[in-house]
């Protein structure tokens, strides 16, 4: 009987430990959030808030129709209004400057047909992707043609293949990088005089065993047809302040995201190598919780990206209408936005650019441009990052401490404070901060120093302890002998 009782008590006690812990259920209703070490969404204060909305009708020129891109140079915003075959130029207060719908080529006027993108260089010269006219126009600010980029005379372009420029960017040496439809070898690079020079940033071709067998079994006609279904590799590009290309891709297998085979965001150098730093908890892939509902499912698909002057970059996810912000080390700073009709939400965002610290996001379906401004919280992050990046850890720690007051779940702040403490040789406290946010490497650095200090401070006790351990058995044996009276025999 007692045995039975014991067993029952035992089972009950074990059951106590098994009480399920209630956890705040996963939800994506936060406007702004971040992901922690365990890839759990953590709500955060707003880093960006919507400030103004621009509609074509509010400029008195009729609504935008299927707008494709937004570009900012200085204080001027260019909106590519593809459906209306025009480009709308507005100033920073959303006042109309002019509507560009034609350029002058050798004295004759020429209109656009479904323009997709625009780039404006420092000298205020415009590069317009006039997609359905199969050309990229390089014009000066008065819209007089400087030169025209057309289909490159290259073996890789077959005679029947149309040259459809989709996105363009120009670096400060005058090289034009172009994303063209039905080209899967990367970006087309044109030199300063307008000649095609090379492809850049091509994807490494991975062929699985299955595909090899499949190709073997196919007829020649089938194989030829299959080559037509090669998706365009990149979705967009932008040039950052150091002349590197940030690019986004939407065509990849969701399963490859976490093993590093797929890189939706890349930073390409002039050789086309990916030099993006990925030191965050997860590589910059956007959403980590792929909640499903309505049309929404699967991973993020980045439609556009913009790189700020402080080396943070903002990628625009069209699946969930969110903006993902990463710092120069690849840490996720914050995520904001969402799908919806409210101010600050988007229906089908296609393009993002920045003016100073403001963000401009173009919604294709709502045909509107939203301006988002940095909040106090967001500017604290920027200030902290700036000091941190320049190695002034103590100054950055001041900002991080203020930030923790606003958001106690901000991991970068804890690690930043830890770095400052590490610099000040307060290793014990630094360890606490690193431990709290699971920064293994920095923790190890702090701990190695802490351990060294501790051993140096307590070397006397350590030696004494080891000696005591060695001598104690002998001493006990000796005392035993004394007690038994063996010593004096």
């Amino acid at each position: 009987m007692t045995k039975l009782k014991r067993i029952i008590t035992c089972i009950l006690l074990m059951a106590l430990t098994a009480v399920p812990v209630t956890v705040a259920s996963a939800n994506s209703s936060f406007y702004t959030y971040n992901y922690d070490f365990y890839d759990v969404q953590m709500e955060s204060p707003d880093a960006y808030t919507p400030e103004a909305l621009l509609l074509g009708s509010s400029l008195g020129i009729g609504d935008f129709k299927d707008p494709g891109a937004v570009f900012v140079r200085g204080n001027t915003i260019y909106i590519v209004d593809s459906g209306n075959n025009r480009i709308v130029e507005v100033d920073s207060n959303f006042n109309l400057i002019r509507v560009i719908d034609k350029v002058t080529i050798d004295g004759a006027e020429s209109t656009f047909l479904n323009p997709k993108d625009i780039f404006v260089n420092e000298a205020n010269e415009l590069f317009i992707c006039d997609s359905d006219n199969y050309r990229v126009l390089h014009v000066d600010y008065d819209l007089k043609l400087i030169k025209m980029y057309t289909k490159p005379e290259d073996d890789t372009f077959s005679a029947e293949q149309n040259f459809i420029p989709l996105k363009c960017a120009v670096d400060n040496t005058g090289r034009l990088y172009l994303l063209a439809a039905n080209v899967n070898k990367g970006f087309l690079e044109f030199d300063k005089s307008g000649n095609f020079s090379q492809y850049i940033g091509a994807n490494k071709v991975k062929v699985s065993l299955f595909e090899v067998i499949q190709k073997r079994l196919m007829t020649k006609a089938q194989r030829a047809r299959m080559e037509l279904f090669v998706p365009t590799e990149y979705s967009n590009l932008c040039i950052d302040i150091d002349n590197f290309i940030y690019s986004t891709t939407t065509t990849f297998d969701a399963g490859d995201l976490f093993n590093g085979l797929a890189a939706p965001i890349r930073r390409l150098n002039s050789l086309g190598e990916d030099i993006l730093i990925r030191n965050g908890y997860e590589p910059p892939i956007g959403e980590l919780w792929w909640d499903t509902g309505g049309d929404v499912s699967g991973p993020s698909r980045f439609e556009d990206i913009t790189a700020m002057d402080n080396d943070t970059y903002y990628a625009l996810d069209r699946i969930r209408g969110r903006v993902f912000s990463y710092d120069f080390q690849g840490n996720l700073l914050y995520v904001f936005g969402g799908l919806g009709n409210k101010f600050g939400y988007f229906q089908y965002p296609v393009s993002i650019d920045h003016m100073g610290t403001d963000l401009l996001i173009l919604d294709n379906r709502a045909a509107s441009l939203t301006r988002m401004t940095l909040t106090e919280y967001g500017s604290l992050i920027n200030s902290g990052l700036k000091e941190y990046k320049e190695g002034r850890y103590e100054e950055s720690a001041d900002y991080w401490r203020q930030l923790i007051q606003m958001n106690g779940n901000y991991d970068l702040a804890y690690i930043g404070i830890g770095r400052a403490l590490l610099r000040q040789e307060r290793f014990g406290e630094a360890m606490e901060y690193f431990k709290a946010k699971k920064d293994f490497d920095n923790y190890s650095k702090a701990f190695a120093e802490y351990r060294k200090e501790w051993v140096e401070a307590n070397v006397g006790y350590l030696v004494a302890g080891i000696l005591a351990l060695l001598l104690l058995p002998k001493l006990i044996r000796f005392i035993k002998k004394v007690v038994k009276g063996e010593v004096f025999k």
């Binding site: 430990t17 399920p20 699971k438 923790y443």
Partner: protein
């Protein structure tokens, strides 16, 4: 001292003796496992204590190790659910092994298999327990020491289990390895049967519940 208490004391001494014998077994596996079962140098009580110590080692490893080596998400951590796999796998090993070896001229009884397997877990306890403390003295760069020792413990345990199979069932090495592999296959079959059984039970329950609901709905 009454006879009863003297008897109890004898039992306790026997338990401690058999428990201490595990230290002999891990260094002299062939003698050790032979005597464990044939000379009654081991006891099931000691085996149970060893098994409990294995569980305790696991729990302490999860809870007290440095966060460089284990970083459980405490909000979702359920101790029981972490322990159950070990207990289930251990008991399934014993049952599956016993079921197979009775068909393969194994000499061992279920109790002996249980005892020998539990004794073979001793290095796990002896090495992993101190590693919990040592983990707090290591940095990420030195973590390979930790993993060397923990892998060493695992390999030692596997070899001991093989020795135990040889001695308990009076097998050759090849047959011990073969029967162990078959045992693992048997464990998988058991898991498959359990899962199938449960899903069938659930479905039949669901059938009767919906039947009841239907009847209740029609009658009222």
């Amino acid at each position: 001292m009454s006879i009863k208490s003297a008897f109890e004391k004898d039992k306790l001494i026997h338990l401690v003796k058999t428990l201490r014998y595990s230290l002999y077994v891990i260094f002299h596996p062939f003698d050790g496992f032979w005597d464990l079962t044939h000379e009654k140098r081991g006891s099931k009580g000691a085996a149970t204590i060893l098994l409990a110590l294995v569980l305790l080692t696991q729990v302490w490893t999860w809870t007290y190790s440095s966060f460089l080596f284990y970083w459980p998400q405490w909000e979702y951590f359920n101790l029981l659910m972490e322990i159950i796999p070990t207990v289930v796998l251990f008991s399934m090993w014993c049952i599956s092994n016993w079921s197979l070896t009775t068909l393969m001229d194994g000499k061992g009884k279920l109790g002996q298999i249980y005892m020998a397997t539990a004794y073979a877990m001793t290095p796990y306890i002896l090495i992993r327990m101190p590693l919990v403390l040592i983990s707090h003295l290591l940095t990420v760069e030195e973590s390979s020491y930790y993993y060397i020792f923990s892998n060493f413990a695992t390999i030692w345990c596997v070899l001991l289990v093989l020795c135990a199979m040889m001695m308990v069932h009076d097998y050759s090495l090849g047959k011990a390895v073969f029967s162990s592999i078959l045992t693992i296959v048997g464990m998988m079959i058991i898991i498959f049967l359990i899962v199938m059984f449960f899903s069938l039970i659930t479905q039949s329950f669901g059938y009767f519940i919906s039947l009841y609901k239907e009847v209740a709905f029609r009658l009222y």
